[in-house]
């Protein structure tokens, strides 16, 4: 069959054309194409990796910031608490001091009042004694003007003395 008998001329040309085609395409087409495809893929790969690491770094940074903020907030809370405690303590102390001072004053005042009172009472008592003595003297002086009265009195007193 003619159809399945390879023709010499066509074999010759096919070998030649395919050989030249392969040589030229391999050198001027496939080499740059394959190379730059590989390069492009690599650069895309690297860019993706870079963005991933950057994102991870950003996330780490953000987490660090948050931690920092949280710790600062905690520290602030502690400081405020401490300050409050200190001020409370100071106020309490001041109150206590004022109380004791007031108490001492009151005590002092009471003591001096007692003393004043005692001395006043003593003075009144002395005055009253003097007054009563003067009064008694005057009464006596007036009563003992007549003899009979004096005698009567003496007897009364004597009776009293006897009795006791």
């Amino acid at each position: 069959m003619e159809l399945i008998t390879p023709d010499f001329g066509l074999i010759f040309w096919q070998l030649l054309v395919f050989g030249i085609l392969f040589f030229l395409l391999a050198k001027f087409a496939w080499k740059p194409i394959i190379q730059s495809l590989a390069e492009r893929e690599q650069s895309i790969d690297e860019a993706i990796k870079l963005s991933e690491t950057t994102r991870a770094e950003m996330a780490a940074l953000k987490a660090g910031n948050e931690q920092l903020i949280a710790s600062a907030r905690a520290e602030r809370d502690v400081l405020i608490k401490q300050a409050k405690e200190a001020s409370d303590a100071m106020i309490a102390q001041a109150k206590l001091d004022a109380q004791t001072a007031a108490n001492q004053e009151i005590e002092k005042a009471r003591v001096s009042f007692e003393q004043e009172k005692a001395s006043a009472v003593a003075a009144i008592r002395k005055e009253a004694a003097t007054l009563s003595l003067d009064l008694a003297e005057k009464v006596l002086k007036s009563q003992l003007k007549d003899k009979a009265a004096q005698e009567k009195l003496v007897t009364e007193w004597m009776a009293d003395v006897k009795l006791s």
Binding site: L10, I20, L25, K27, A29, I34, R40
Partner: protein, 361 residues
């Protein structure tokens, strides 16, 4: 520097193609003259070849004529007008040496086959009248189509290659973005999968060349009036021989031990197994050759048969049924053009993969 030298080469190949056509363009005119000469013969729609003097239509002859190679590029015949492009004949005989002449010399003004310089063109073959052996390396229809496809491939892919070289990190544009997915497909799905990550790069230029060579020639063959290049046994034979050489020259020890002493098989079995494996070494490229040839030729035969139906029944109304169906077949053939290129490349890379495979038992 390489681009410059390449451009020179491209220019050179263009000159060759140009010469090829100018060599034979004058004879279109000559044919027209012969048509007017013949106008005395009355029957307008009778094919003018001498064996077709009876009006009987012979589809088998027509189809075989279309899928076979020829020394001139025949486009169509209307009445006695033959639109043919004569191609250069390059013939070597021991007595006359190398002869280069137009194939139109084999036809007289009545479009009948005549001997030229002691050579006769018979059934698409050139014989010497004195019976000596003729070495015929003429630029036949298939060779011309081959050269056109080569120029097409070189123009497209070197253009694309230059774009890649100029800005390798940019997104592809135009033709580049059309072929890039296919190139990546060949690389990832065919080469990497079958040959493996370690060796595939070495074979990429070869695989890409056969893939696009087969695909482009399949597509060119589908153009009406196109040549049946990949459906020619000589072309597929050369492709298969190259595949055979590439596979076996890259064979490693594992490959050869699997052929001559299959490991893990009882010794006596090797008496049967080794001859089978050796036959297999040759059968693989043989199957590549036959598969591509048969698929593409079959496609052409189907399309031509469908169209021939109209002429067999001599009924134009049949065209209403045949045209949509042949359109459907044509679309199928477009898919087949790609699939056959893919299968050929796939199988070659599979064979290469088994050849370069490393010992892993």
């Amino acid at each position: 520097m390489p681009i410059k030298t390449f451009l020179k080469k491209m220019y050179f190949s263009n000159i060759i193609i140009g010469l090829l056509f100018s060599f034979s363009s004058f004879s279109l005119l000559a044919n027209e003259e012969s048509a007017t000469h013949d106008s005395t013969q009355a029957h307008a729609n009778v094919p003018a070849t001498k064996e077709a003097e009876s009006t009987k239509f012979d589809p088998g002859k027509l189809i075989l004529h279309h899928i076979a190679d020829e020394h001139e590029w025949h486009f169509f015949t209307v009445g006695h007008f033959h639109a043919t492009l004569p191609l250069p004949c390059i013939v070597y005989t021991q007595s006359a040496g190398l002869q280069v002449f137009s194939s139109s010399n084999f036809k007289n003004e009545h479009h009948e086959e005549v001997p030229y310089n002691g050579l006769v063109l018979e059934h698409g073959k050139i014989h010497a009248e004195n019976g000596e052996h003729v070495y015929d390396i003429s630029i036949t229809k298939n060779v011309a189509s081959l050269l056109i496809s080569a120029v097409l491939l070189l123009t497209i892919f070197i253009g694309i290659g230059k774009k890649y070289q100029d800005n390798p990190h940019r997104a592809p544009k135009g033709l580049q973005s059309m072929f890039e997915p296919i190139i990546i497909f060949v690389r990832d799905e065919i080469a990497k999968n079958n040959i493996g990550e370690k060796h595939y790069r070495r074979f990429m230029p070869y695989l890409l060349t056969i893939f696009f060579f087969i695909w482009f020639n399949n597509m060119l063959g589908l153009i009406p009036g196109g040549a049946n290049v990949t459906g020619n046994i000589a072309v597929t034979l050369v492709l298969a021989i190259i595949a055979f050489i590439v596979t076996n020259f890259n064979g490693r020890s594992t490959y050869w031990t699997h052929i001559f002493a299959m490991p893990g098989v009882p010794k006596w079995m090797l008496i049967i197994l080794t001859p089978v494996e050796i036959v297999g070494v040759f059968m693989k490229p043989f199957s590549l050759m036959v598969r591509l040839f048969a698929n593409i030729t079959a496609g052409h035969i189907i399309l031509l048969s469908l169209v021939s139906l109209i002429f067999i029944f001599e009924n134009a109304a049949l065209g209403i049924a045949v045209v949509p169906f042949s359109l459907f077949m044509n679309v199928i053939e477009l898919i087949v053009a790609f699939i056959q290129a893919f299968i050929f490349t796939m199988l070659v890379s599979n064979y290469i993969g088994s050849a370069v495979e490393e010992h892993h038992h």
